[in-house]
């Protein structure tokens, strides 16, 4: 019988993978084995959720050394006789996916937004062409590595798991972590907001953010942004980026201010129920995917909206 191995460095994502594995195993009958690396509390948590957990504890293993992590996971795959590996498609999980796939000769699909066991295959959906389209794919090789986007599955619960120790050999690492800095915490979850007010590079200055925040407050919504506003201008945190390399959002209402509508952005907002586009360019691409189109300067529209809502 085949087996599914799951692994994520992050507790919440590991629980989501357990749900994904259970959904697959429900039709395939595969055995599910959860792996943890140098993380006893995660092992306890997964076992409490009903998983059969296998632990690697090795002080020589540097988590930042993706190649070494992949080698350890490859040994676990071997020992567990797993042929399907589910990883989390957060940044480090995604690079681990490529490295592990190469190490075990597996086909690999990352950033999976939806998966389903069908005719003995695992059909995966992911964005393609920068988000302009959705590809449906499956892996044909015997071994498969699938990295699943966060929040695709809800966290698993259950009971009656177990914990078993695994031994792996670890080579000395060529990578040394000199420093770990916590990023400034922005605990906002824009992907859970019902109303989103998002700004793009049409915003003139950081000072103008104040009125955008005021509008969002008045509407009971959250402020979000296009990627350049966070990564280039650094006016907002990366937590607030909508899109391919940001969050997938499904609000009831999204008000998009000064955003041109390139696919890498729109992929993160196309599931919104209602979309409003405010853009000074009447031919902006974003207008084609909006329910309401207002061709105007956002710096005039936003104060008007605020005073009308007063």
């Amino acid at each position: 019988m085949a087996g599914i191995m799951i692994y994520s460095a992050k507790d919440n994502l590991a629980l989501e993978l357990l749900s994904a594995a259970r959904a697959l195993a429900a039709t395939s009958g595969d055995e599910i084995k959860a792996l943890t690396v140098n993380n006893d509390s995660q092992a306890q948590m997964l076992s409490a959720a009903g998983a059969d957990v296998y632990t690697i504890n090795s002080s020589g293993l540097v988590p930042a050394d993706i190649g070494a992590m992949a080698d350890s996971l490859a040994q676990a795959v071997q020992q567990m006789a797993a042929n399907v590996v589910l990883l989390s498609s957060d940044r480090s999980g995604k690079e681990l996916a490529g490295s592990l796939a190469q190490a075990i000769g597996a086909g690999c699909i990352t950033d999976v937004l939806d998966l389903q066991g069908k005719d003995g295959r695992i059909e995966c959906r992911r964005n393609a062409l920068g988000g302009a389209a959705i590809a449906t794919q499956y892996i044909e090789s015997d071994r498969q590595v699938i990295a699943i986007a966060p929040k695709t599955f809800s966290a698993a619960s259950g009971q009656g798991g177990s914990v078993t120790e695994l031994q792996v050999s670890v080579k000395p690492s060529s990578i040394k972590v000199l420093e770990v800095k916590e990023k400034d915490k922005d605990s906002v979850n824009i992907d859970e907001a019902d109303i989103i007010v998002a700004v793009g590079q049409g915003l003139n200055s950081k000072e103008d953010l104040a009125m955008v925040e005021e509008l969002a407050n008045k509407l009971g919504g959250q402020v979000a942004c296009s990627k350049p506003v966070a990564t280039d201008k650094k006016w907002l945190s990366e937590e607030r980026v909508i899109g391919l390399s940001g969050k997938q959002c499904k609000p009831d209402l999204a008000i998009l201010l000064g955003i041109s509508g390139q696919v890498q952005f729109t992929v993160g907002i196309r599931d919104a129920k209602t979309i409003v586009a405010v853009n000074s360019d009447e031919n902006a691409v974003i207008n084609q995917m909006a329910d309401y189109v207002l061709t105007a300067d956002l710096h005039e529209v936003v104060p008007e909206l605020i005073s009308l809502l007063a």
Partner: protein, 253 residues
């Protein structure tokens, strides 16, 4: 310092049209992915600060690549090493392309640092750097937002979702960069003119020794545009907009 940058030729995403939700890729001009351009810029900046060295771009794709590559040669690459094929590479999955790039890189001498974008411009799958690093048995550091060369090591700021790690990796190594690392230069007209004269090696895919076992592991069933039918109602001002949203019970009042 010998730097190698792997770049992927992709269709210009803004120019893809859809017919019956299927992308029509014929005649869409090709370019390199944006993050690949950041990787190239990072290599050129390292070379410039180092004082000497060479930046070689490796790329695998169809024969349009011989034209597309000029973009990279104009933007600071010194040489190009291309693997081309009529169409086999267009449909090749990551495992095959990684093998192809690895065979190309093995032919280059004394490589100190290999740079990749963290994801390609079209699929953004992020497998290429990690796969090639494994094939070459080199250490890899991903998601670089800063790179500094110090002796025979690189100090890399690796930016993850919630933390930034400063790591030291011994060279040779593979580093993947993210878009925030730099602002790629816009080549001048003279640089564009000179690009055509820079050295370029073009190899046929068939001439590479890939072994027997190279077939796609990932099968694509279809690629479809998501269905979208938005109302696209024009409103003239803020108050019309609010009225419309109130009518739909999207906002209170």
């Amino acid at each position: 310092m010998n730097l190698v940058v792997a770049m992927k030729q992709i269709p210009d995403l803004q120019q893809i049209r859809f017919s019956n939700r299927r992308p029509v890729l014929a005649d869409v001009p090709k370019s390199f992915g944006n993050i690949d351009k950041n990787a190239l810029e990072a290599a050129v900046l390292i070379k410039e600060s180092y004082g000497d060295g060479k930046v070689t771009v490796v790329s695998a794709g169809n024969e349009e690549l011989e034209d597309t590559i000029k973009e990279a040669l104009a933007a600071g690459a010194d040489e190009a090493f291309l693997i081309t094929d009529d169409n086999a590479l267009d449909d090749a999955d990551s495992s095959i392309v990684a093998q192809v790039l690895t065979e190309a890189i093995k032919q280059l001498e004394d490589v100190d640092l290999l740079l990749f974008g963290e994801g390609s411009g079209d699929n953004y799958s992020g497998q290429m750097g990690p796969r090639v690093a494994k094939l070459l048995d080199l250490p890899m550091v991903g998601y670089a937002s800063a790179i500094e060369i110090k002796g025979d090591t690189a100090i890399v700021v690796r930016t993850l979702e919630d933390v930034e790690e400063v790591v030291e990796v011994s060279l040779p190594a593979v580093i993947t960069v993210q878009s925030g690392i730099n602002e790629p230069r816009i080549p001048s007209v003279t640089q564009i003119l000179k690009a055509g004269r820079k050295p370029k090696t073009v190899q046929d895919l068939e001439d590479l020794d890939l072994g027997s076992d190279h077939k796609n592991q990932v099968v694509t069933i279809d690629i479809l545009a998501p269905e979208s039918n938005r109302k696209q109602i024009k409103v003239n001002n803020a108050s019309q907009l609010l009225d419309a949203l109130k009518n739909e019970n999207l906002i209170g009042g």
